[in-house]
Symmetry: C2
């Protein structure tokens, strides 16, 4: 109160005389050890501080004191901390504050007095019962000071039943009034209950969900309000995998560090970022173990399941990057002695050591690192009926559809169980990569250009050389094999999403991604040459890799460009999709195919691709003797595509924003290069307010708005969605709601989050309109 009254004296200035007085009573002395004389002397000393710092005497007129106290509260509105807080919470600075002047009450006036804090419901479980603690014959300070052990609030029912009942009744009334669980402070003075403070209670995710549904059932809040009460992050939390509690009981904990980025991760220990990349390329899962990380380790962090460091706190490079890229991380495990040379580490406390390749289980939520491969349990959606009820209400509110990005039948099925209403992005790249396929694809790529040129030559009536005929034969054979395999993939996906739309994106990445790494092949061939000579095959492969090498592959031969240069990619994928559709339909299913072309910047790219595709569809139809039915659309992910969306909409029956690439190109950022480097600094130094790959940038959103408006000007009712990673980010979902998109598409495990966020985006919009 002193500090508050005399504005120009900092509260800490009173600590020193107080501490000095206490020290005279021993080093562990408490405030209560001070004698009356001590306190009297202290008052003088405090007054001296006031005089010294403020240049005036402490006022002895109570009204003057009150006046200064009131002014101090008002003045606190302008303090730096309050200012920063309002900025961070986007609270208007001209809103002002209020001062209530009340009589002091005392909880330390005997055993019929007391004080305590309580929640109107259990903030951990959500159970509808008072939860808290209190002390008889005590003031609030006593609870905080921890001298006496408080009793659970249920004890109050024994001690003062009438007060307890009244407290319970008032709590319930406050709950109804504020329409939310309350966090209460109270004092009992000589049997009379005084409420000191009430505010909405913080709660766990599980409690939030239970409380919200209970309150709807009790008629306290509407289902809309219940939807508004859950944080999207809480939904995420409820669905995040954790280690199996049974397994944890017997797990060998190596070390405990800072819980820097939440989540459970299992993988094999590696001590170097390059090694991490190598191992992951070989199909291993890894935990990256470092003394500390630097931007040079980013590529290893990006591929690791989790990261643990011996040094650095919650704002260390490892911690910040891990949170940014959503990887579990334990930082600052100072007991861990990491030896890069020996590729091993040991804990000085537990004595447990491990070496490269050993299995580790890392809990970023708790900060624990365990030895071995612990089983994880996913928090099962079907076991959470309250969450499902809330998301059901959300479904009734939201305007946008929630679709998913899924490449495989099992992912599609999981997303569907989470409530996905379609596939907004089925990438076909993995269909070229998995298992035996990569070899087939490489075989095709090595002759793709030659075969395509030969086919063009043959089409113009010229006859082919033997070499040319051979490339065509080799290429076609490989592509035919791929077609069969891909058709099977598409059948699986159509079955999993029966009756729901499936947006299939034709192959997007540059072909050299399917070939061995240039540097590795270069070293291999150089080594072989030094040792006497490289094989012709290796030399050939190196030559092909070099000829396909690009300065900036992100802006090179990929997406729609690929299909225009090597039309067989479009043809084979089209046939595989449409034949899969026919087959599933003939088996009684309802497959809904939407074919999507990536990286379109000019309407002619789409028009030419559409010609190719329509011709192939006709061929499939006439061969199968049935009609095929598909929608043809495009991604909008190149700025020029967005800027000319009116032209592009002539050829596309739907748009889907690829906001990852759109962000890269609009900013001129290569995500790969930026996130481990300058972007980190940009966000740290507030050059950018946030990482635009996590939350949609406003300028990118503005460009999307231009595209939506132009697209719908050409084609009213044009279906427009988003399939970039932003589709699963609540803040971005709110932004695309305002742009008027039809759906968001996100990874399966983000679907519940997106259902909630999409509903909240509608509620926020309604709130803005109501103002």
């Amino acid at each position: 109160m002193f500090g508050r009254i005399v504005m120009d004296v900092r509260a800490e200035r009173f600590d020193e005389p107080l501490e000095e007085r206490k020290r005279a009573h021993g080093k562990d002395a408490r405030d209560t050890d001070l004698t009356v004389d001590d306190l009297k002397a202290l008052v003088d000393e405090f007054k001296a501080v006031v005089k010294k710092d403020s240049g005036r005497n402490f006022p002895s007129d109570p009204l003057e004191q009150l006046d200064l106290a009131i002014k101090a509260v008002f003045a606190s509105w302008f303090g730096k901390r309050a200012n920063d807080y309002r900025n961070s919470q986007k609270i208007a600075h001209d809103l002002g504050t209020a001062v209530n002047v009340v009589t002091m009450v005392f909880g330390n006036m005997g055993d019929d007095s007391g004080t305590g804090v309580a929640f109107t419901r259990n903030p951990n479980t959500g159970e509808d019962q008072l939860f808290g603690e209190y002390l008889t014959n005590a003031q609030g300070e006593d609870v905080v000071a921890g001298i006496r052990t408080p009793s659970p609030i249920s004890q109050l029912q024994q001690d003062m039943p009438a007060v307890y009942d009244e407290f319970n009744r008032i709590g319930r009334q406050l709950e109804r009034h504020y329409r939310n669980v309350q966090d209460l402070e109270f004092t009992i003075e000589r049997g009379r209950l005084y409420m000191l403070q009430t505010r909405d209670a913080k709660r766990t995710a599980a409690a939030a969900v239970k409380i919200a549904t209970d309150m709807v059932d009790e008629g306290v809040i509407s289902s809309e309000e219940a939807v508004g009460r859950i944080e999207p992050a809480q939904v995420d939390q409820l669905l995040r995998a954790t280690f199996d509690p049974a397994a944890l009981k017997t797990a060998k904990r190596i070390v405990k560090g800072l819980n820097a980025s939440p989540g459970a991760a299992v993988g094999r220990a590696v001590f170097d970022a390059d090694v991490a990349v190598d191992w992951v390329n070989r199909g291993e899962k890894v935990i990256l173990v470092r003394i500390e990380t630097s931007p040079d380790d980013f590529h290893g962090m990006a591929v690791a399941e989790g990261i643990i460091t011996a040094r650095g706190g919650a704002t260390s490079h490892a911690a910040v990057v891990a949170r940014q890229i959503g990887k579990p991380c334990v930082a600052g495990s100072s007991a861990l002695d990491v030896n890069y040379g020996a590729k091993s580490a040991s804990c000085s406390l537990t004595g447990i050591d491990f070496k490269e390749g050993d299995w580790l289980s890392l809990d970023g939520t708790t900060g624990d690192l365990y030895l071995g491969e612990l089983p994880t349990v996913s928090a099962r959606f079907e076991d959470q009926p309250e969450l499902q009820r809330i998301l059901g209400w959300a479904d009734g509110i939201r305007r946008m559809g929630v679709w998913t990005n899924a490449d495989k039948p099992e992912e599609a099925a999981q997303a569907r169980s989470y409530g996905a209403e379609g596939i907004g992005l089925c990438r076909t790249e993995h269909m070229f990569r998995e298992g035996e396929r990569l070899e087939i694809v490489r075989g095709a790529i090595l002759v793709a250009n030659a075969a395509t040129r030969a086919k063009a030559k043959a089409a113009s009536g010229e006859s082919l050389t033997d070499d040319e005929n051979e490339s065509v034969a080799t290429f076609d054979a490989a592509m035919a094999k791929l077609e069969v395999l891909q058709q099977g993939d598409f059948e699986g996906i159509f079955k999993a999403m029966d009756g729901l739309p499936v947006v299939i994106r034709l192959i997007d990445p540059p072909l050299h991604e399917f070939l061995p790494n240039l540097e590795e092949q270069l070293v291999k061939v150089t080594r072989a040459e030094d040792a006497g000579g490289a094989s012709e095959e290796d030399e050939d492969l190196l030559r092909t890799i070099k000829s396909m090498h690009e300065q900036n592959p992100m802006l090179g031969l990929r997406g729609v460009r690929l299909g225009l240069m090597i039309p067989d990619f479009v043809k084979v994928q089209t046939r595989a999709i449409l034949n899969a559709q026919i087959k599933v339909k003939q088996a009684g299913g309802n497959p809904i195919a939407k074919i999507m072309i990536p990286l379109v910047g000019h309407v002619n790219e789409l028009a030419r691709t559409r010609e190719l595709l329509d011709a192939e569809a006709k061929a499939v139809e006439s061969k199968a003797g049935v009609d095929v039915d598909y929608k043809f659309g495009t991604m909008i992910e190149v700025p020029r595509g967005a800027l000319t969306a009116d032209e592009i909409a002539r050829e596309a029956s739907f748009f889907s924003f690829g906001t990852n690439d759109l962000t890269q190109m609009t900013f001129g950022f290569s995500r790969d290069d930026a996130e481990g480097g300058f972007l980190l600094k940009y966000v740290e130094d507030k050059i950018l307010p946030f990482n635009p790959f996590q939350t949609l940038d406003d300028a990118v959103a503005g460009l999307m708005k231009i595209a939506v408006d132009k697209g719908r000007a050409t084609r009213p009712g044009l279906e427009v969605g988003i399939c970039g990673e932003h589709g699963g980010d609540p803040e971005s979902i709110a932004k695309v709601e305002r742009i008027g998109l039809d759906y968001v598409s996100c990874s399966p495990f983000r679907v519940p989050v997106a259902r909630l966020a999409a509903a909240q985006a509608v509620l926020a919009g309604a709130a803005v309109r109501d103002k």
Copy 2:
């Protein structure tokens, strides 16, 4: 006439009976060798063709013939060729055509008859005198058939002075009427002159310039019209370097091929694209010699001075690409026998051979390849007073300034002599590359990150380790050396551009561009390891190169990002610029400095850089004891920069569009990768109407318009220019005139072209407004 009358008979169908008749008179027989009987029989045969092909008899009623002939002319409007022509020339299809029906006149009715063609002025030199040829007692066919040698038109003055005078008078009258030099066809029938046709005459660049200025002097056309009459390409042609005619007389010509892309090029023979790149990296100039080229050769073509191929015509890969990238090219030199294995070539006709490394001189304008290093002569601007007069008139018309992109004093001086009114882009990269500097820069780069981190640590009050102190010392020493050298560079440029603005762009490229190539270093280290062990220095260098390697360097750590990560680059360059300015000013000069930041996408990037720069400027001021004066601006070359130009204009006092990067990012095209690959096909297949790196794309121009409007909304009168390559392209200049830019900046030798094009853009705008 037959073909025209009977629409459904192709004209060629009459050739066969005609040829057969002629063959009967010997294999070299002419039309005139046919007898009357032959002609009578031929008429019957022609009628049979008509009957056979059209199903009806050839009409014998002259009125019906006339009617059909008229209809045929009208119908020709819809023919494919006419249609294509209108499309290519952007002529409206609904414009229609006219038919004039006139009496036939005959030039073969005796020696007082004749026929000829003539220009009202000499189309080669522009000299104001009739130029052409004629034949007495002849029809137009006879001139074309080449049986008789026509006389020069001056002979007509001797033969028929009255007719000549009349012809001269009519020619002059037509010239006045059409206000242009005319290309005339005429017939004299028994002493009476008939004008058959008149049209504007085609002419050489030199003639165009002379005629235009003469006509202004004669009062025939206004100076504005004169400006409109010259094609920008003609200005370019008048200034293009050619081989010294004196040297050509004794030059050894190796071979003559197709003149596929104009210009003179001198360099050393290389037979492989990779070798070309290697040699150029070593500072050599090369001529790439190939049997034919493919997309795999693009990187070699891009660095070569010129290209020659043994195979392929005017539309071969070599020819198309060379024209696209503006390199002289001789294609299809079929007498040249190229031996890749022996790295040599020889001409089967001249017997001259050459091998890798030999000097060659290639004339793409004529198709000649010479042995040796021939001297070139630039067509001197100061020797072309008519051209200068026209550009002077253009200067009076144009609204936009014409500035130049020049990095060195000599370039600046040349551009200034061409009329440049400022430097719109002074790149500072070469200041890091030339001579001894590259080694200094590499030394700085190797410790740049460590030194920057150490400086930040020291700034926060922590003490540095010995290693850290050493990196700071090494880095600062290197940067200090660079500062001295750069200040000298800037002094030279300020002097050359005394009194004119100089826009200096701070360093832009990613730092790894200054380091050795990753692949080369990798091979070097691998080889050394195989041979027993690489030096620590080489291993270190490889490690640094790897750590700085980027997936997509165009979108990586460069431009403004570089200065924010390593502030010393901004500081050193700022000091060098401002101290140079002070020095030149103190020597009595008037240096006008404008500092420009590249690659800005977010206003905060610019704000932070400005803080750095302003602080450094203050330091320079206080050290020198004088005020410094500079403008601070930004490039707009990232889509986000354009989209948020209203925010960016808060910090920038001028904008300059970097349309190369803006085109790359708006399209999502890496120019390096696209131009040798898919972009070539895109333009060939008309997926894109033109190469957007040569002529500004309309969507990119639209984005620029957004930026200009937003920028000027924040800062009325904001100065906006363009410094991408489009700044020297006439079509692009017309587009940026419409956007309202203040100036274009282009390479020195394009300055005269740009002066003309900027004036024509104003005239075109006025014409549009007049409509």
